[in-house]
Symmetry: C2
Subunit: 407 residues, 2 copies
């Protein structure tokens, strides 16, 4: 199918009839320019939350299978309405549920994985000259049950359809106009990135840049589907997430991220013997506690301190588990620190540029900001610092790596 584009519109883009009509106009513009258009929609505004709220009034323990049955209606409503709105503009359109277009998933209700997409009915209707509107976030399991794909599921529907249909690009319309070098609410002169690599976006997403969920970016990376993140409220170009191109490598650092939702836990005086760390982190894992950074210093006295960070919402549970396991392995006390922030720099240029870490540490030191923990990946460096320094650190690093918008 030549000249095919997949567009996804998030909940805020279709929050009410007026906005749905605006989306319809945009879709029709693309159609009239000669594109074949497949549109994926999320549920209207807060519909999903309202449905979850309804369920909570009926039971405190809904089965996941019934939750999927319930919340999948949100996207079915929005795709029917958008098809009507497009039709009203004299461009024929047809809506489909995930099941109808053959988005086959596994049986993991509320967080299903896409196994296969047949997309036969989509191809047929595109051939008929129609705009095809697909309910995002949902599929049908091999057991013929309605499933949903979990957080960011509609993005995933869009990227997966782009792959299945051989689309040139997948456009993700949202309420921000792209990916920025840093949170513009904190760093006033943050710059919109015109391009960013899948890997950088994955690091930024895992660091809490809420533009896109990591799994959709991973899917795009695996099948090399360029993703254009842009605003549904304007016509300006957004950010294209794609595989690395030469120009990207010339830049040291592409973006910065700041996280303040983690806390630090330290287990003191852990016996420095093989297998002890494994015992500790296995116990945390079986209690479903997700660990982010882990730091263990060299031992000098036969014991060591092990520090790690967890989401604040898991802190109480973490302390309980940590105290129990500390007793079991003969470690000392367990200390928590909620006044931390994590500041990170991300860039594929780090691979070829040396000295990036040193520049980061020096810049923080110049502002008398102490670094409590450090963790690095191939294209990312994260530092845990005192929370009160968070914004200063972000601005300082933004300047240091020359990310300022040129006025």
């Amino acid at each position: 199918m030549g000249n095919l584009i997949v567009q996804k519109y998030g909940g805020s883009s279709v929050a009410n009839p007026e906005r749905i009509k605006n989306v319809a106009k945009r879709v029709v513009r693309y159609k009239k320019r000669g594109y074949n258009v497949v549109v994926v929609v999320s549920a209207l505004g807060d519909t999903t939350d309202e449905l979850i709220e309804l369920a909570s009034k009926v039971t405190d323990d809904p089965s996941e299978r019934e939750m999927d049955m319930l919340i999948s209606t949100g996207e079915q409503i929005s795709c029917a309405l958008l098809a009507m709105a497009i039709d009203k503009l004299k461009v024929p359109a047809i809506s489909f549920t995930g099941a109808q277009v053959g988005i086959i998933t596994d049986n993991s209700h509320t967080k299903a994985r896409i196994l296969n997409i047949s997309a036969e009915r989509i191809k047929e209707e595109l051939k008929n000259g129609k705009v095809v509107v697909v309910a995002g976030f949902q599929g049908i399991s091999v057991a013929k049950e309605i499933t949903t794909l979990g957080r960011g599921g509609s993005d995933l529907t869009a990227v997966a359809l782009a792959k299945a249909l051989g689309a040139k690009i997948c456009e993700i319309y949202t309420d921000v106009d792209g990916v920025y070098t840093a949170d513009p609410r904190i760093v006033k002169d943050a710059k919109k990135l015109s391009r960013v690599s899948y890997d950088e976006m994955l690091e930024l997403a895992s660091l809490g840049a809420k533009v896109m969920q990591a799994r959709s970016v991973e899917y795009g990376k695996r099948y090399d589907i360029p993703i254009h993140v842009r605003s549904s409220f304007s016509n300006v170009e957004g950010t294209i997430i794609s595989k690395e191109v030469k120009s990207m490598e010339r830049i040291d650092v592409s973006g910065l991220a700041l996280q303040k939702d983690e806390a630090k836990v330290t287990i003191c005086d852990v016996p420095d013997k093989p297998g002890i760390a494994a015992i500790i982190f296995k116990e945390l894992a079986v209690n479903n506690i997700v660990i982010d950074m882990i730091v263990q210093n060299v031992s000098r006295t036969g014991t060591t301190d092990i520090s790690f960070t967890v989401l604040k919402e898991d802190l109480a549970k973490t302390i309980k588990v940590a105290k129990k396991v500390a007793r079991e392995v003969g470690a000392g006390e367990v200390i928590k620190d909620e006044n931390i922030a994590k500041v990170s720099i991300v860039g594929i240029g780090m691979r070829s540029h040396s000295g990036i870490a040193a520049r980061m540490f020096r810049a923080l030191a110049s502002k008398k900001i102490n670094i409590e923990m450090i963790s690095t990946s191939e294209i990312k460096i994260s530092c845990v610092i005192e929370k009160r320094h968070a914004e200063t650190a972000l601005r300082t690093l933004h300047d240091e790596f020359g990310l300022k918008r040129v006025k």
Copy 2:
């Protein structure tokens, strides 16, 4: 499947989480008494109207295919919620859309006809000991599209499932507790009928008794499925609609109905020649005007007056069409009368009892009520009278035929 019961709950019975929980309790009671229970639900309260309202804000001309996509979500929401509520009471339950249980319809969107029901998944889940909750009002067309069954569609789903599954009875839970001899708001001592025949119910339904849509009663009649109409807010027995039993024939008149939504139109001085009436009523039909009663008197002067009744909402259009056709056939003026009411008596006993009509006319005459038009069927007699006499006529006939509740 032995001991199977199909229960249908209307929109007011599942209007909010509290009521859904009450329905769940009732279902569980039946299950614990040893019944296999299949439940059919309508959309929550006003959901369907709200969805139609949403569509109207997006387009003034929605395709029927997309309307079905949209409004079928209402029942999907309610069936998932009810399954959760039943599950919460420790009785396993599972919800299904019409498509999932194989309710196959024709392609007439928004008013589809059921062609076939496979119900395989229902049988399977009943064998697993589950309560099966089915979204009413919907099916899947032979073209694999979501369809809806039109007004009263959820009742039809219930009766059709009762047939497909070989259920003993189909219970229709609603906000009234049965079928009455007359509208209890007008006739204070109206009596609830414990039994009424399909044919009587069909006449009463067509006369505006809003308890059940005629098509569900017709379906029940065709396959001899007893239908128990009863209240979801109490445990009292309602009215059983079934085939005729001997006891019914002993009663002259089962029920009364009053309609005030019609108007009378008279075309004066119509040439009394063969084919003229056909021309008039064909012209009305092609303009989609539904005619109820027609009266034509014998001609004395070579011309005759033809009177008929139509719904008031069609009156303006009717007058326009009637005037045009009157000119064409050389008839005289067209007169309208909106101040009419139609009072009807219904009963299969009429077949074997003579003199029922005479008793009706005498009773009306005793109150000085003039009869303007008369129409009869095998088990019904309707009289058009002046609207101001409507309530008096209803009460008078209720007394005449001994329908009073025994105190």
